[in-house]
């Protein structure tokens, strides 16, 4: 297997050398690849740009698991059938730790779907990441400048954004709201007064808010989202960017102020944890279970991303007149225009053979995004060129509306962009301590700042 690959590599580099030689001698005969490209006809004609690599296999590695990975496989089935390129996708729920091990062991996949800009930076620093082909770079107009910058390292564009998710959402039960005469808040002050009103109306373990930050090795991440949304919507994009690069520390008054806001919201004993008990239960409740009390009217609202849609039990109707729906989390400060926090994935190449680049180009095209949207709901593209009318799911529509808004202050999940020692280490742990052990804001901030890598 390995020898086979090496031989291919030698053959490929040999071909490249031959091409270079052909070009420099000016014979003008064209590369050997040009003559071999078959012409695709009929339904396959639209894949002509990717033709010429029939019989090749491209390995793709990511954190997406079944059933969502099945939707991915269906989305490129036609592409594979027409071009003859087999895309072999494998997913892992420990992707973040598996990928560096694979790359370090010389067993890198051809392409990887990396969900964290921080991990992308790390991978680029190992020297294993290949620059994207010209066509993928040309597709740059498909993404907003912010998205492109998260796929870049030190100003060089490496990885094309793929899917996007919207984090600035609050899940609620439209029926419950209607029965009690609550209206969807549009300002932070409204949200706070609604929470206070709900707290007065509810009894027992029922509370206006619920939350859960348990998530195995990643326990703590939902709380980082809460803090990030408050930082972005109260302090604005610049402070947010400086916060990621540690120019603004966690101990900085601006971040401390945001933490105070979170303290008065998700750590407020009168407001949480609906259906589960006291504040500390947030630390032990899994993020998957966090919102389920909404269905039993034991919890009023849950702040969680668009992908939480997949957690509702089968048969739950999602929509403005359904069992659950979501509204846009109003910004803390009116001076920040439509703050939107999101996450997403980036297609990163560890190989630069023709077939890999063909797949890379295809995945960066709006045609592929359209194809994926058609397969199944629950998926929004970061690509601005996609046909917005294809979205059928109400949450997808809502998310796409904010993600594609050119005036929105879009920022990527900060903890995913921070160095891993903080973003997937100290900050997660500190959040768990904050919610679970009642640590003070000052100590939480000091704990995270101390873990920032020095070199």
């Amino acid at each position: 297997m390995k020898n086979h690959k090496r031989l291919l590599g030698i053959a490929a580099s040999g071909a490249a050398l031959a091409t270079v030689a052909a070009c420099s001698s000016g014979s003008g005969g064209g590369g050997s690849t040009a003559t071999n490209i078959p012409t695709l006809t009929g339904d396959c004609a639209k894949y002509q740009a990717y033709a010429g690599y029939s019989g090749k296999t491209v390995t793709l590695f990511g954190s997406i698991l079944s059933p969502e990975s099945d939707s991915l496989n269906s989305s490129w089935a036609d592409f594979s059938k027409c071009t003859g390129i087999t895309i072999q996708y494998s997913g892992s729920n420990t992707f973040e730790s598996d990928l560096p091990v694979k790359v370090n062991g010389g067993n890198a996949p051809d392409l990887a779907i990396i969900p964290q800009p921080g991990l992308l930076q790390q991978m680029v620093q190992t020297g294993a990441v290949k620059k994207p082909p010209a066509q993928t770079v040309k597709n740059e107009d498909n993404w907003s400048a912010a998205w492109k910058s998260y796929g870049s390292v030190n100003g060089t564009f490496y990885a094309a954004p793929m899917s996007a998710n919207m984090k600035t959402l609050v899940w609620y039960s439209p029926k419950f709201f209607q029965d009690h005469g609550y209206t969807v808040p549009t300002t932070w002050a409204d949200l706070m007064s609604l929470s206070a009103k709900m707290a007065k109306d509810m009894t027992g373990t029922s509370k206006p808010w619920c939350g859960g930050i348990g998530s195995g090795t990643a326990s703590g991440w939902p709380a980082t989202d809460w803090l990030e949304e408050i930082v972005l919507s109260s302090q604005g994009g610049q402070v947010y960017d400086d916060w990621i690069s540690h120019k603004v520390k966690f101990s900085d008054p601006q971040i401390q102020q945001a933490m105070q806001t979170v303290q008065g919201w998700m750590l407020n004993p009168a407001w949480v944890n609906g259906g589960y008990g006291g504040v500390k239960t947030i630390a032990t409740t899994t993020f998957q279970n966090a919102g389920l009390p909404i269905l039993k009217n034991q919890c009023g609202m849950l702040q969680q991303a668009s992908f939480y849609e997949a957690q509702w039990p089968k048969g739950t109707k999602v929509g403005p007149d359904g069992d659950v729906f979501a509204f846009y989390l109003p910004p803390v400060s009116s001076s920040v225009t439509t703050p939107v926090e999101g996450g997403g994935e980036f297609v990163t190449a560890f190989a630069d053979d023709g077939a890999t680049q063909a797949v890379q180009n295809y995945l960066s095209s709006p045609e592929w995004a359209d194809s994926r949207i058609k397969v199944a709901p629950g998926w929004v593209s970061a690509n601005e060129k996609v046909d917005q009318s294809l979205y059928t799911d109400p949450i997808d529509k809502l998310s796409a509306k904010y993600l594609a808004d050119p005036n929105a202050t879009f920022r990527f999940d900060a903890s995913d962009a921070m160095p891993a020692a903080v973003g997937s280490g100290a900050e997660w742990k500190a959040m768990v301590d904050w919610f679970g052990s009642g640590k003070s804001i000052k100590d939480v901030a000091a704990e995270i700042d101390a873990a920032w890598p020095t070199s």
């Binding site: 089935a77 594979s80 973040e96 091990v101 373990t205 090795t217 008990g277 239960t281 630390a283 020692a421």
Partner: protein
């Protein structure tokens, strides 16, 4: 979709077939090489015979130890003196003992080390204590099948499985709601109306996690110590009884000294397992809420939070701690063998 599914299935099948073929090829090749080596070795006579025999019998084991243990150990020790943050990082340099001074100076890691020591003191002592008690009680019993099986059964369960089982026992639900955790339910029925959230209440949670380890290890201790107790000759016990030794005195002055070596081997074996405890802590709380131990922190440093060199330093610390126990363990095993 309909067309793509059989395509995928057939390619997966083809892949499986080629993998299987590869495995058969490899095993066949391995056997062929072995046969050739043995054939040649069998024909060699004279001066070369003995060194060749040593090489053939010792060689493969030595090779595997070097590849699987020695080289990674050297690599890890080397890594622990660098400033590497993630796997494959290019420009790393040596920073001397910085990672070690960090490990012993950082208050979080200090607590981790202290907690690991606590595990090391409590778990082997209680596992052996419970195991010894059980084997003593059952030493002269007639129907020991059921109790022995019940105590030994947990030994057959993986640490992760045991941790999952116990996490249900320790599960916390607000007392106003129906309970799902056994421990909370029992506590409430006994009149403790507001039991704590067991797994996030430090330091209680560490001890609750130790219970899981003891539950697993006690069966092992019971079986080995039970066999040792059985092997004490009846004459010795009888003559001791005639001399007036009964009950605890008999146990302390006759039985314990007679099984001393086995006792030490069991204690050190449990100690080594405890020092490496990872699964239980990882599964129950992922080291959160002040339950972290060295092996879990090492794993997180290496694979989750990109602090590879710090993780390597922790690995070396664990390694250094295991060596003396290991040495003691092997020496005891040897001396026991000499007595026999």
């Amino acid at each position: 979709m309909a067309t793509s599914t059989p395509l995928l299935a057939s390619s997966a099948l083809g892949q499986a077939a080629s993998t299987l073929l590869g495995v058969i090829e490899a095993i066949g090749g391995f056997i062929a090489i072995l046969l050739i080596v043995f054939f040649i070795a069998g024909r060699v006579t004279g001066r070369l015979q003995k060194p060749l025999a040593i090489l053939i019998t010792l060689g493969p084991a030595l090779l595997l130890v070097v590849i699987g243990l020695v080289i990674p150990a050297i690599e890890t020790i080397n890594l622990s003196f660098k400033n590497q943050q993630f796997l494959g990082q290019l420009d790393t340099k040596y920073v001397g003992f910085k990672n070690y001074t960090y490990a012993f100076g950082d208050s979080y890691t200090q607590h981790t080390i202290l907690r690991t020591l606590l595990w090391l003191l409590i778990v082997p002592a209680l596992s052996v204590g419970v195991g010894l008690l059980a084997s003593l009680l059952m030493d002269r019993m007639t129907h020991t099948g059921l109790p022995k099986t019940l105590i030994f059964l947990p030994t057959a369960i993986s640490f992760v499985g045991a941790a999952v089982i116990w996490s249900y026992v320790y599960n916390y639900v607000d007392p106003r709601n129906p309970q799902t955790g056994l421990l909370s339910e029992v506590a409430i029925k006994l009149g403790w109306h507001n039991p704590p959230n067991w797994l996030i209440t430090a330091p209680l949670n560490t001890f609750l996690e130790m219970v899981i380890m003891i539950w697993i290890q006690a069966g092992f201790a019971m079986v080995v110590l039970g066999a040792a107790l059985k092997s004490i000759p009846d004459e010795v016990i009888e003559s001791a009884r005639l001399d007036g030794a009964e009950g605890f005195k008999l146990f302390r002055t006759i039985q314990i000294p007679m099984i001393r070596n086995t006792l030490i081997v069991v204690i050190t074996t449990v100690m080594i397992t405890t020092l490496k405890v990872f699964d239980i802590v990882f599964t129950i709380n992922n080291g959160n809420f002040s339950t972290d131990v060295l092996a879990r922190q090492m794993y997180a440093d290496m694979f989750v939070t990109s602090q590879v060199s710090r993780g390597a330093a922790l690995a070396v610390i664990i390694f250094v701690c295991v060596i003396p126990i290991m040495y003691f363990n092997i020496r005891q095993l040897r001396s026991e063998r000499e007595i026999r």
